[in-house]
Symmetry: C2
DNA sequence: TTATTTTAATGTAATATTGCGATATTACAT
DNA sequence: ATGTAATATCGCAATATTACATTAAAATAA
């Protein structure tokens, strides 16, 4: 078939999967790492840095953007990307809670 | 093209992507949640619980197993799955470090 | 042995993802 | 208006993923 049956799972499971999907490609991980390094950076810079073409880089940026974790600020024709700290913290909490909950279940046994 | 260019990224970026890939499907998140609930459970039980066919469930279990986070113990014909607490802790650390590092970079700005 | 139960493997179909070239769009400068 | 630079979008080819039916294998029970 090939299509994920989202509707049969809990909202929480889908939520975690959605966030994990952002990080499930090394290019996107590298992009996030790089954006952290520079104080607002351009698509072209990111593209050069991670050594993927501009269209590919732009596409990955859109994927990350969809989750609301990316902010972008226009300065003329250029667009400076940065990470939304508040949203980033939320994702961290979501993940960490999942890891902790699973761990605490194990401790009971 | 369609194939991820792993080789152009850092080992760390690939590592994070590999772990995230496990959690990037809600069925696998649900499986991990359920395995936490029961003290060792069968493939068939998991399949019933998450409402996916036995082959599909088995396949997802293999994907999770590849990362070493799943333990399985045979008792006769049945195979009881459980989560390796030590490995689970390692994955949590990997993720949390990544989130923290990215966050700390933001704080500098 | 044979039957049953449980899990894994195989084959197949549908869909999603990845990456790029070509092109479009956007914003500014001249 | 025209040129230039930075991004985004489109369309494609290659590959990966998802899900299931069927079949095989392994272990036990009868």
């Amino acid at each position: 078939m090939g299509v994920t049956k989202r509707h049969i799972h809990s909202m929480r499971a889908n939520q975690i999967a959605d966030v994990a999907k952002i990080l499930s490609n090394p290019a996107r991980v590298a992009i996030i790492e790089y954006i952290g390094d520079c104080d607002g950076c351009l698509c072209q810079d990111i593209s050069d840095k991670i050594r993927l073409s501009q269209p590919t880089t732009s596409q990955h940026l859109q994927v990350i953007k969809r989750t609301g974790v990316l902010k972008s600020q226009f300065k003329g024709k250029a667009q400076y990307y940065s990470i939304d700290a508040r949203k980033w913290g939320q994702l961290q909490t979501l993940f960490n809670d999942f890891f902790e909950l699973t761990k605490s279940k194990m401790a009971d046994k």
